[in-house]
Amino acid sequence: MVATVTRSTAAPPARQQGVLRRFWPQYLAISPFFILFVVFMLIPIVFSLYLAFQRWDGLGDTEFVGLQNFAFLIEDAKFWLALRNTVLIWFMSTVPTLFLALVVANLLNSAVRFSSFYRIAFFVPSVTSIVAVAIFFSSVFSTQAGLVNAILTGLGAAPVPWLINEWTIKLVISLVICWQWVGYNAIIYLAGLQAIPSELYEAAKIDGAGPVQTFFRITVPQLRPIILFTVVISTINGMQTFTEPQVLFSSNSANAANLGGPGSAGLTAILYFYNQAFNNNQYGYGAAIAWAVFLIILVFTIINWRIVARRDRPAKVRR
């Protein structure tokens, strides 16, 4: 748009300079983001791509190894375990999170009293430090000293080794994520809900639709683009789950690096990347893991996009 405007007003040779001169305050105003982006994001991203083909201990010289890091990656059972864990934890956390968020958003939408209070209350977890949240959850789910097991034993049940069993480890990590992100997604859904014209609901009411039918026939279809957005964001975040297992299974022992607790059941792909690069000083291999994860997120996002977006297209044609 900028180009068309200048073409009509300024002479072609001076076009480029003219744009800069005329719009410099605007460029200056947006420059902090781009400068920070280049320094803290773009350069590290490019450097990590370079590192993925090197062996580097972080301080000495880099040594070109071609695709060797990726060849090791394919053979590395730990890496595949980490990927499996990541996908499982992503699934176990995203599905309940988004479902609960939709329910909460509906409740918030119809709440009459204290609605601002509830909105803030649900949003607070997502701005709370994940480290603090994870420390809190690790206390709550501690086998011998935890609140959950205290309640279980109080009810006469046997205590559960939450942070030791392979599946409960994943469950606890998913719970942390769920607790933290329900409110955030609910607020996004709430914005979407408020954009749905009330005529639709009125029409549905007149046609005799009940609340469940209204929810599935009107609310969900109308929210589809918003749901797509939250699914994509949750996928990108879920594939990068790191802090929760990092804090839940952090060890004081210097020699025993954190590999996601007993049996590495809480080892996520990014935690493994961190472990390889920063604990084992294998920055090249770490970079290879990071790029592999990037490719997987890309594939997941495209699949998500296709599934949710494709349904929209025929509908448009019909209309």
Binding site: R55, D57, G58, A145, S251, N252, P262, F278, Q282, Y285
Partner: protein
């Protein structure tokens, strides 16, 4: 305070100017010619803060600026060294990083050129050699060590009819087999108590006693050697005898230590502080005895001079002063840093009885242990390779994995990790 927008703007502009000026000055101060300033990096608890403050006052010909660096110390040090700006003159190196940083011989000063070879004999030699390169350069002076011993609950030992005084326990449980037999007796007498707290701890200490690790000095993989297999078998044996507790961590482990389920553990000297902090109510019930099978070491850091150091001679004088026997004794009192200089073991700060251990003078156990640790070559990739064995051992311990398939998997995985790091 009444702050108009104009005032706010003016103040912020002023602040920016001042900040810019400070940065500019900082750059000037980083010049190599300035020998009137020395910086010292360490982490919280890495040195006694009081001893460091004394050093600042004592070496007042220069401006010695100590900084306590939080977070991932090695990462911050390496990042700064890569940036080649604001590199500390004197820096601590954590024990787990010495093997990899020892390879960077051109980033640290060979302390032998400053006279370190003359004081080498004062320090425990196995720790000193951890900072010696293959070609004989000395890159660091050891701050502290972690000689190991057997921590045990005297009250429960007595209840089970086992020897309960430190000297008797040390003599009666001088081998792993004797220790395990005592564990079986304990199990019969006090059924809900466990002698062995950590199965991978047994593995770690038997390896520590062997004098060999995962990779030899010729950069060859020896993780499938007899010394590793022996340690593995010993660890698995504690499980098969039923004397090893289920795997507990954090608060769960603390709770079990307090209620007398976990009655003994093998730990380094610095572990005493953790024990005191997490289980203060059990004060007086614990004792310390010699470790079964001979002492091992766990951890211990170094002080080093970077090649950017602006006054190496004086900096060396400062670190040797910081690590004199008297100051090491202060470090023991203030920060539980176990001295690397055995002359300190005779000082009152170390010989005093410890009420947490029922008045026992624990140096009588840790002192001789410190001087008897077996030296071993540790390669940079060692801890990553070692971790493969621990992971599989934990699978046997907490998930009931078959011991033989776990061993096969551990060796395969360890070889792969070693290969990734360029070990043949």
């Amino acid at each position: 305070m009444n702050l108009s927008r104009r005032d706010l703007l003016r103040t912020s502009l002023l602040a920016i100017t001042v900040a810019g000026g400070t940065v500019a000055c900082g750059k000037g101060g980083g010049a190599a010619a300035d020998t009137n300033e020395l910086t010292l990096w360490y982490w919280g608890g890495g040195l006694s803060d009081k001893v460091v403050a004394d050093a600042v006052a004592r070496f007042n010909k220069v401006r010695l600026t100590p900084s306590v660096i939080g977070g991932d110390f090695k990462q911050k040090l390496v990042t700064t060294m890569n940036g080649r700006k604001f590199v500390p003159d004197i820096t601590g190196i954590k024990g787990e990083n010495i093997a990899s940083l020892r390879e960077e011989t051109n980033r640290f000063i060979d302390l032998n050129t400053l006279g370190a070879d003359k004081i080498a004999g004062q320090f425990v030699n196995w720790k000193w050699s951890e900072a010696t390169t293959k070609d004989g350069k000395q890159l660091g002076i050891p701050i502290d060590i972690g000689p190991g011993a057997l921590y045990y609950r005297q009250d429960v030992f007595a209840k089970a009819g086992l020897p309960s005084e430190p000297a008797q326990v040390g003599a009666a449980m001088s081998t792993w087999d004797a220790y395990f037999a005592a564990g079986q007796q304990l199990k019969r007498a006090v059924p809900d108590a466990f002698m062995v707290e950590s199965v991978d701890g047994i593995f770690k200490n038997v390896i520590g006693q062997s004098g060999k690790r995962m990779i030899d000095a010729g950069n060859r993989f020896i993780g499938d050697g007899d010394h590793v297999r022996k340690a593995w078998d010993q660890a698995v044996k504690s499980l098969e005898l039923g004397i090893a507790a289920p795997k507990l961590e954090g608060q769960d482990r603390t709770a079990a230590r307090v209620n007398g389920t976990l009655v003994s553990n093998i730990g380094a000297a610095w572990g005493a502080l953790d024990l005191k902090n997490e289980a203060p109510d059990t004060a007086g019930k614990w004792r310390v005895a010699a470790m079964p099978g001979g002492p091992t070491n766990d951890g211990g850091s170094f002080l080093a001079l970077t090649t950017e150091c602006r006054n190496p001679q004086l900096a060396f004088e400062i670190i040797t002063w910081l690590l004199s026997p008297e100051n090491q004794a202060k470090g023991f009192t203030d920060a539980a840093l176990f001295p690397t200089n055995p002359a300190a073991y005779k000082l009152p700060a170390l010989t005093a009885g410890d009420p947490f251990f029922g008045g026992q003078s624990v140096i009588e156990v840790f002192g001789p242990a410190a001087e008897k640790v077996t030296a071993a070559y540790e390669a940079p990739a060692d801890s990553a390779v070692y971790q493969a064995f621990v992971d599989e051992l934990v699978n046997v311990w907490s998930k009931g994995k078959n011991r033989d398939s776990a061993w096969t998997d551990a060796v395969a995985s360890a070889k792969q990790i070693a290969e990734r790091q360029g070990v043949s």
